[in-house]
Symmetry: C2
Subunit: 562 residues, 2 copies
């Protein structure tokens, strides 16, 4: 019995659904309607095409052996009937048909289905800023966007770029433009980059790194106008300044494309995406949906979330195909993982931040650690900062943020798996991740983070995050800061912008008696491993209120005095 499967959208989820159906369902006759010209391309690779890392745009839509995944490819190899430049306009659920506009000819067509898959993706938000329609004001979401940006850069006339929006896409493009010699400025309403994704401290780490690359970040500023002169773009005006611009990228966010689903009366969720069950089925049993246009469950909270990611879309396409083929298959949700590269830095997160987790009634606790990705004696050893969150009650890992020049992506993926698998910090601390000096320290940074959080939750270690220390001191707290680094380190690494006492760790046992026992004490060093030793030594010597600054100087996201 032939089963007509119609798929609206052929980029990530749609293309994957079609490809898998061909593999597993001999009865399926698959048709794809794609509004654009391009199919099945690596959307997440677009910043790397804009940045010149990927030389040919066709590489983003070809197989590893160089075959373009176009309509001919889908037809010939996958036996899938593909209509590009076909905009689906209406779903007739009663008659099981979809109306579509052939954009090229203007013709209205009707496509029948037994099972329909909505994979309409998302679209970038273009806020109604005056001047947003000037030339050289771009968004970067699809292949034509990338081609337009690339061509502007190739013209050789682009010297200064302004990126409106410090989210994931905006920040990915910073490196792409900066590496090509453009002067890059970023404007965001909030104070730090990646505000929707990272704690402020981690945004600050990225900010510090970007400053060393000459990138300007104007946080807490609102764009009021994109300024033109004789019809040509000239600047971006915020509530605080005017920034000259030869090109502008609007990267203020995306929203799910749900108009056709909404109009058909399918259920839409609070986050604006189409609602689907565990099998990716919508409120109509003959209609599935997946990719950027749907909401998904969060593996920790079970709540609906929206995570427009090509990787998630691909996984969902597989589940949809399975269910259409009669193989019961579920998508269990996401941990909410995101990662990006900026120059030699990696920043990413999974699960929940402490604040998010507290808001969900977890008894969340968090710790920040800084560690080396490989032993200091190995060439190329570089640092990683991890903020790990766990539940005091269940001791389960709830989330993590990572940053570093060091190999933070590996640690993030360990933590994604730990969140998904419901590992406790105790299990995580004992997990025998692979150790050899080229790959990690004997106790991997993830082990270190788990152990530090155990210490904190078990009441063995009193500690403060950098923000906590800063806020308390600014609120009038006056602890005795004891920096246990060597004077040489203090000179080269910089110091906290507060009064402190310097006693190198090796001298602490003897010199501690000179310290006033009645003061509260905060100890630290470069990464606060010695800082924690100092904490222990002072406790032994009778100091009763001693805590350690998490991450030490290396983990301090704010300005240091040098």
């Amino acid at each position: 019995m032939v089963k007509k499967v119609l798929i609206i959208g052929g980029v990530a989820c749609g293309g994957k659904t079609a490809a898998r159906l061909m593999r597993i369902d001999p009865e399926a006759e698959v048709t794809i309607l794609e509004k654009g010209e391009f199919l099945s391309y690596a959307g997440c690779g677009l910043p790397y095409y804009v940045g010149g890392v990927v030389k040919e745009y066709k590489d983003l839509m070809s197989t590893p052996i160089g075959v373009i995944r176009d309509a001919t490819f889908f037809r010939k190899v996958k036996h899938v009937d593909v209509h590009t430049s076909h905009l689906a306009t209406r779903i007739d659920r009663k008659n099981h048909t979809v109306a579509a506009l052939d954009v090229a000819s203007g013709e209205e067509k009707t496509f029948p289905y037994d099972k329909l898959v909505i994979a309409t993706g998302a679209s970038p938000i273009r806020p109604p800023i005056p001047g947003a329609d000037l030339p050289r004001v771009f968004t970067l979401w699809n292949m034509p966007d990338a081609l337009a940006m690339r061509s502007a850069i190739d013209s050789g006339n682009m010297k200064r770029a302004v990126i409106i929006g410090g989210g994931l896409i905006g920040m990915e493009v910073v490196e792409a433009l900066s590496n090509q010699g453009l002067d890059v400025s970023v404007v965001d309403l909030l104070e730090t980059p990646l505000p929707a994704m990272m704690d402020e401290e981690f945004g600050m780490y990225l900010l510090k790194a970007l400053k060393t690359k000459g990138v300007n970040f104007y946080g807490g500023e609102k764009v009021q106008e994109i300024v033109g002169c004789n019809g040509e773009l000239s600047a971006v005006r915020t509530d605080k300044r005017e920034i000259p611009a030869d090109m502008v990228l609007m990267a203020v966010g995306v929203r799910p494309n749900t108009a056709i689903a909404k109009e058909a009366g399918l259920e839409i969720g609070d986050k604006g995406g189409i609602l689907v069950d565990l099998h990716m089925k919508t409120s109509d049993p003959d209609i599935y949906a997946g990719g950027d246009c749907v909401e998904v469950d969060h593996v920790l909270t079970g709540e609906k979330t929206w995570q427009p990611m090509g990787s998630v879309a691909n996984r969902q396409g597989r589940v949809i195909a399975d269910n259409i083929a009669g193989i019961p298959s579920t998508f269990h949700g996401v941990a909410g993982t995101a990662i990006m590269k900026a120059f030699e830095y990696t920043i990413g997160k999974t699960g929940q931040t402490k604040e998010q987790a507290l808001a969900k009634e977890f008894e969340a606790e968090a710790v920040t650690i800084v560690d080396a990705d490989t032993p200091h004696f190995m060439p190329g050893s570089a640092s990683i900062t991890i903020r790990l969150v766990a539940d005091r009650r269940t001791r389960k890992v709830l989330g993590a943020q990572v940053f570093g020049p060091g190999r933070a992506d590996k640690r993030l993926d360990i933590l994604v798996t730990a969140v998904t698998g419901g590992l406790t910090i105790d299990m995580l601390g004992n997990t025998d991740v692979a150790y050899a000096p080229p790959y990690s320290t004997a106790l991997d940074p993830v082990t270190h983070a788990a152990n530090a959080l155990k210490n904190k939750i078990d009441g063995l270690m009193a500690s403060l995050s950098p923000s906590e220390l800063k806020q308390k001191i600014e609120g009038g707290w006056n602890p005795l800061l004891v920096d246990v680094r060597t004077p040489d380190e203090i000179r080269t690494q910089g110091q906290l912008p507060y009064e402190f006492v310097n006693i190198p760790l090796g001298m602490l046992w003897e010199k501690a008696k000179e310290l006033p026992q009645n003061r509260e004490v905060v100890t630290y060093c470069k990464i606060s491993v010695r800082g924690w030793d100092a904490c222990a030594i002072l406790s032994r010597l009778g100091f009763e209120r001693v805590s350690v600054l998490e991450g030490g100087i290396a983990g301090w996201p704010f300005d240091l005095v040098k």
Copy 2:
């Protein structure tokens, strides 16, 4: 109340126990007896010192800021009393004392304890081969071993090295010696490297890689004599050949140092290590043991195993200290992870192989996949081979092996965490590991492996591992092999050493009718993604017995025809 804690051994577990006790137990008065001269050094870093990657041996025993972790350091910073060159000789459990020999003075001393920690480590096995006592015949287990090897290499007279034993240490040293211009040969009783750790196929991958570096591997050979000439080493003679040698490394294995524990009547396990409970406590409630001298539980089987690894030893030291300090803490076991680097290749494993799992009455199934670590359009993209094992009944991940020039260590650590957390292949396939093009493919190789194994277990994909295909063909099976690569690929990548038909995938729908429908068919391509498409196409066309060769040409560990 002061509590005397005596620790026998100050390298990994012992040093860690002492350091943590200082931090968390104000009542502990800690003493370490270390038989050697060196304390708390990175034993796993020794091959990198021998190989000249680590320039100074002191780097292996110093803190990241360059302070040597010697007796003075332990005394001054950790307030731990350290006696180096003190060989513990006898435990008097009744009187709670340990007798030790001061190796320098020859003096017998007695040390009292309230709690004793045995961290005596392991020692390399020196098999009774004639000539084993010749000069320039080394083992590589401790710092003096490494210093001796390094000094031999620095003499400039070493041209040819023979390594006896293709296990982890032997294979790590291959690169160390080869990079310094030595001609390196390895001899092992078994046919492939890392026989205790990896399936033969993965040993073959490593072997192929080593051959390209000019390393000789003589598998299935028994060393009969280390040949000397006028008291000088000249060659290694096996049952098949004589290999000239200026230096020899004996790396045939290590065994736990348990004599003192045995003599004291503590329980010893079947694997030869001291038996401890979850709290790392021996059969004597006042004696703990950890590190290379103890057996540990396997997280999957619950059975005792022996895993002499510095990383595990450090984790156990922490648990011992906690329990001595009165904090209930457990070590839940190991997944059996190991990893090593050889030139630009990474090889590692965790959990169980299919055969090991079947022997434990798991209903184990496995699949081998080859994938790129990052998208083909990103510079530096390199391949990874993963063999994933899961239980058909519970669908839980049981183990994995990885190999590649690509970043296999990250995937291994994801899989270690999956094994430890009891993830099913379904959960693993859906886990949203971090995707951005610099870090992974949209569907990470681990996702790909999980999905392939799901297909296989669910009966959606009939497939054969390379060994299975080879064995069946050698046993007389005569399937029609269909290679769906392009002729160009076949020319450059090589072909299987069997008769085959070449039909590029894009032509398969039309050309398949020329194939005999009554033959069993095996399809493949470079990595068998197109191979699986071909499988699906042929099934659709009525071929009933079609399977795919796992990993394709890239995953073929045996010789190819070029």
